[in-house]
């Protein structure tokens, strides 16, 4: 039971319908009386003028019954009575969709088309068919315009909202009423049916799983296949039986071999630090040699500079005294750093 329904007291459904009926009658009375202060939307407003005018038309026709014996006259009378009454209704207003005016136009058009041929068929169906053929196109256009108008949709929407609200209340009250009578209601049955549907869904899932298994993996197990599997299983068992002793044997051999390999690895690892130390010593020596080399380079540069200057001085002195001497020129020679320990001396004869 919903919480909403618990909050509301149960009412006899007949009583509820009576209330609805009373409210409706009040609404229609209010509308028909032309109550300007009406608060209800009148969804059938478009039909009221028509009903009223039909009644008036009937009265007019009754006033001269003898004329009705001739179908032509009767139909003309009918058309005139109807159109006059509708024109009156249209003049009185109360036609929010402008239907009356359009209806009148259509009636006039249909009348013109019908009486164009001169004779009116006596058979009611033939007459109706002719009338439909004469008016259906216009009629369709009028109705199409009407139902495609926002005003119409607005009225229909209000009516539908009102109706669904009432329907919901009535349904809830009915449920409550029958519940109080200890009778199962429609929603009770629906609840049970819902459980059945859920159960079916579970069965479907199991069926799906079976089918997937069938489709995806399995084949029918034949006697041959089973016997073959039995033989293979026996063979596997035999192999398994032999496995422990093999493992023992393997264990003894393998452990011995592993021990000797481990010792070898250990001795290699022990030699590793000593080798590393040697490498460090070599690197230190290398660094020192580098330092010595750079110092020797500096000495060599200084020596070259000194020798060059001394040779120039000697040449200048010789030129000044006018003597030609064989001079010894010290030529610096670029060599690889490690061989550049002393300058080489070469002889040249002065001109």
């Amino acid at each position: 039971m919903s919480e909403e329904s618990k909050d509301q007291g149960s009412i006899d459904p007949m009583e509820l319908w009576k209330q609805w009926s009373d409210a409706s009658v009040k609404m229609w009375t209010s509308v028909l009386d032309g109550d300007k202060e009406k608060t209800f939307m009148d969804p059938y407003g478009m039909y009221r003028p028509w009903l009223k005018t039909v009644e008036e038309a009937q009265e007019q026709l009754k006033s001269n019954p003898l004329r009705l014996m001739d179908p032509n006259v009767a139909l003309k009378e009918w058309f005139e009575a109807i159109t006059a009454a509708w024109a009156k209704a249209a003049g009185a207003g109360g036609d929010p969709l402008g239907l009356t005016t359009q209806w009148l136009e259509m009636m006039e058009e249909a009348r013109a088309k019908l009486f164009q041929g001169g004779t009116i068929p006596a058979d009611p169906f033939t007459f109706f068919k002719q009338w439909y053929d004469a008016s259906s196109e216009t009629w369709s256009e009028i109705v199409g315009e009407m139902i495609g108008a926002e005003k119409f949709v607005e009225i229909a929407s209000q009516f539908m909202d009102s109706y669904t609200s009432f329907y919901q209340i009535a349904r809830r009250q009915n449920e409550e009423y029958f519940r109080n009578l200890q009778l199962p209601t429609r929603s009770d049955i629906a609840r049970v049916a819902g459980l059945v549907v859920e159960m079916e869904e579970k069965v479907d899932r199991i069926e799906d799983a079976f089918e997937d298994f069938e489709d995806g993996y399995s084949k029918v197990a034949t006697l041959e296949a089973v016997e073959s599997l039995d033989g293979r299983l026996e063979s596997v068992e035999k192999k398994l039986d032999a496995l422990p002793s093999s493992l023992e044997k393997m264990k003894a051999e393998a452990v011995g071999g592993l021990e000797s390999r481990l010792s070898s690895v250990e001795s290699k690892l022990e030699a590793f630090p000593a080798a590393l130390e040697k490498i460090e010593a070599v690197e230190a020596l290398s660094r020192r040699i580098g330092q010595v080399e750079s110092k020797l380079d500096q000495v060599l540069d200084a020596l070259v500079k000194f020798t060059t200057n001394h040779a120039l001085d000697t040449q200048k002195a010789a030129e000044a005294s006018g003597q030609t001497n064989t001079t010894a020129t010290i030529v610096p020679r670029k060599t690889a750093k490690k061989n550049a320990k002393r300058p080489e001396v070469s002889s040249s004869e002065s001109e």
Binding site: W139, A156, M160, D161, T164, S165, R171, D204, E211
Partner: protein, 355 residues
């Protein structure tokens, strides 16, 4: 025969015709429909999956699954012998199946498109493939059934769906394209929640009224003028009776699905925008890559041509065809014009795509 006797005979005949007409109007049309032999190969809740018994040797390995709308009854696809799309396809050597949603009860008011597209259709597809011993199938969806089929195709692209036929299936619900429905279902005037809360499932009569009001004069008056005309002229009434029975045989619309249909499709136009989500899975029509035959009717006021045509731009299929017939929503399916145009079109297209 004297003049008096002739008159009395005519009168008797006329009265007899009037009696027949009045009887139809009072009691409703009675006709044998859905007569192509079939068996139920699967059922779930109210839904049933039919397999139509072959009448000729099976010529195509790809079976066809017909998916109808949630409203109205699917037997319009198998209206009566000689006027049945199902019978025609079976006769051409196709293996034909149809998913009939059945009539939802009060307990089904919470059934939504999630249930139909993610639970029912995929299971039906599996059952069809098993029954046909096939790896691929063709799906043919009509009206809302076409929209649902397109959603399924978008969510389950690739195998086993090989071909998709959409018959007057709307995917674009832009107000300009939906005609009177667009106005009637606009958010300003229509709240689907009110109706679903009040009724649970939306009564079939109410749904029918909405559909018939699109062409009220034709549907409410013209149809009966035709009936009287046929009776008076001693013409065969079989087709008229079968169609009238179908027209008045509306079924309730499950409440939750109705809310979605109005809110998410008509009011928010989510499908063509790729915004519909079913259990969190986005329905993206561009995922559709299979071969597609999309058919619409020029005079269709329920699914207008632009509503169906929009699918062509939304899907990614390289093999796709849009075919427009000079017919209305239902007239497209049945009658002499359908035999001449729609049925051969479908059959020829399927022959090329089902080998």
């Amino acid at each position: 025969m004297s003049k008096d006797n002739a008159t009395s005979f005519d009168m008797e005949d006329t009265l007899k015709k009037y009696r027949a007409g009045v009887q139809i109007m009072v009691e409703g049309a009675k006709a044998q429909t859905g007569q192509t032999p079939k068996e139920v190969i699967w059922a779930k809740n109210k839904a049933k999956l039919y397999r139509y018994e072959p009448t000729v040797e099976k010529r195509y390995p790809v079976p066809i699954l017909l998916i109808y709308a949630l409203i109205n009854r699917p037997y319009v696809l198998d209206l009566m012998p000689g006027n049945s799309l199902v019978e025609y396809l079976v006769g051409k050597g196709f293996d034909v199946y149809m998913l009939d949603w059945g009539i939802p009860g009060d307990e089904d008011k919470n059934l939504a498109f999630e249930n139909y597209v993610l639970d029912y259709i995929p299971r039906a597809v599996k059952k069809v493939l098993r029954a046909a011993n096939a790896e691929e199938l063709t799906m043919l969806g009509f009206c809302m059934g076409g929209t649902m089929t397109a959603m399924y195709a978008a969510l389950f692209p690739g195998k086993p769906l090989r071909n998709l036929i959409l018959l007057t299936a709307p995917t674009d619900f832009t107000t300009e394209n939906t005609g009177l429905y667009g106005l009637w279902t606009s958010e300003k005037y229509f709240n689907p929640d009110h109706m679903a809360e009040a009724f649970g499932n939306i009564p079939g009569d109410l749904v029918d009224t909405g559909n018939r009001m699109v062409k009220p004069v034709t549907n409410y008056v013209g149809s009966y003028v035709t009936m009287w005309d046929r009776i008076m002229q001693d013409k065969s009434m079989d087709t008229w009776l079968a169609m009238n029975k179908w027209v008045n045989d509306g079924i309730p619309f499950a409440g939750a699905a109705f809310r979605q249909w109005i809110r998410e499709f008509y009011q928010q136009n989510k499908l063509v925008k790729g915004e519909i989500k079913l259990r969190g899975r986005r329905v993206d029509l561009s995922n559709i890559t299979c071969a597609v035959l999309n058919i619409a009717g020029k005079k269709d006021h329920i699914c207008t041509v632009p509503q169906a045509e929009a699918t062509m731009n939304a899907i990614s299929s390289a093999d796709k065809e849009f075919f427009v017939l000079d017919a209305g929503h239902v007239g497209l399916l049945t009658g002499s014009d359908a035999k001449r145009t729609l049925w051969p079109k479908i059959s020829t297209w399927l022959e090329l795509h089902s080998r």
